[in-house]
Assembly symmetry: D3
Homo-oligomer: 61 residues x 6
Amino acid sequence: MPTVIVKMFEGRSLDQKRALVKKVTQAVSETINAKEEAIVVMIEELKKEDYASGGILAADK
Amino acid sequence: MPTVIVKMFEGRSLDQKRALVKKVTQAVSETINAKEEAIVVMIEELKKEDYASGGILAADK
Amino acid sequence: MPTVIVKMFEGRSLDQKRALVKKVTQAVSETINAKEEAIVVMIEELKKEDYASGGILAADK
Amino acid sequence: MPTVIVKMFEGRSLDQKRALVKKVTQAVSETINAKEEAIVVMIEELKKEDYASGGILAADK
Amino acid sequence: MPTVIVKMFEGRSLDQKRALVKKVTQAVSETINAKEEAIVVMIEELKKEDYASGGILAADK
Amino acid sequence: MPTVIVKMFEGRSLDQKRALVKKVTQAVSETINAKEEAIVVMIEELKKEDYASGGILAADK
């Protein structure tokens, strides 16, 4: 704890994920006073056909 | 917001997903007085080997 | 299954929740061919201080 | 209800999943007095590149 | 990891929660070969007005 | 999208939440090339009696 879940579209590179979890961990640590080693980040990737806003799939926009 | 997550078995067609997000968005908008364009729907698909009720995998039923 | 999670701001009445779960269940049933009795809806309410877009809390907008 | 979500690294066999959902269902049933047939378990598998602790991906450890 | 989320109706005692997390942790550890100290369990409590099956709130059943 | 969910113990101040969502939004924006205004952050607070590691509630540690 804290545990952070990032839902984003698929397609990011391993380097982008590496940077994402590092920076998000630092951001959480600095602002809510949690040790970095206690912070967990999970990434959940979605396809464009599995996300909609306004009733329309991202795949159709 | 509102944000709706639909967990369902994999295997639905793109047309079914298209109809699903449209109708769910309308249902939420009408009943809790939210603008359609502010409503997000995410679909998460599960395999039959990743879902159980009564302690038994759907894949074994 | 399917299982639907609706995340929304707190403050809706019991009648709104009643209508919400009924209409969402119908919307899911009609569009992906699932029996109504198998559909589960869970509501998760958030405070305005627990939701942000663009880096700004809803409580501050 | 209750509904249990197990997030774990990918790679477990079907037999391990079968045992997991059975034992977890029993554990929940015994301790909080819920009927086994009402208990749902969902498994969500993560890749090692989608999980980090201490700001470092499991894939890099 | 693994991380287990248990969604259940509110109202269980602290002793029930204590037993729940202990037994669930053991069940996960034994069946998927994970160390107990690496297993996390989170409990999320729902009100009966925030859960529906078949389009009807648990509060109305 | 992206949508970030931060699960943490209850008790942080409004100022800490304000800083948290701002910094996390910047961290996501910079590393995966997403516009800040498209990024959503939701905070979910847990009690110490609703979180366990190693089978022991945080409330008992």
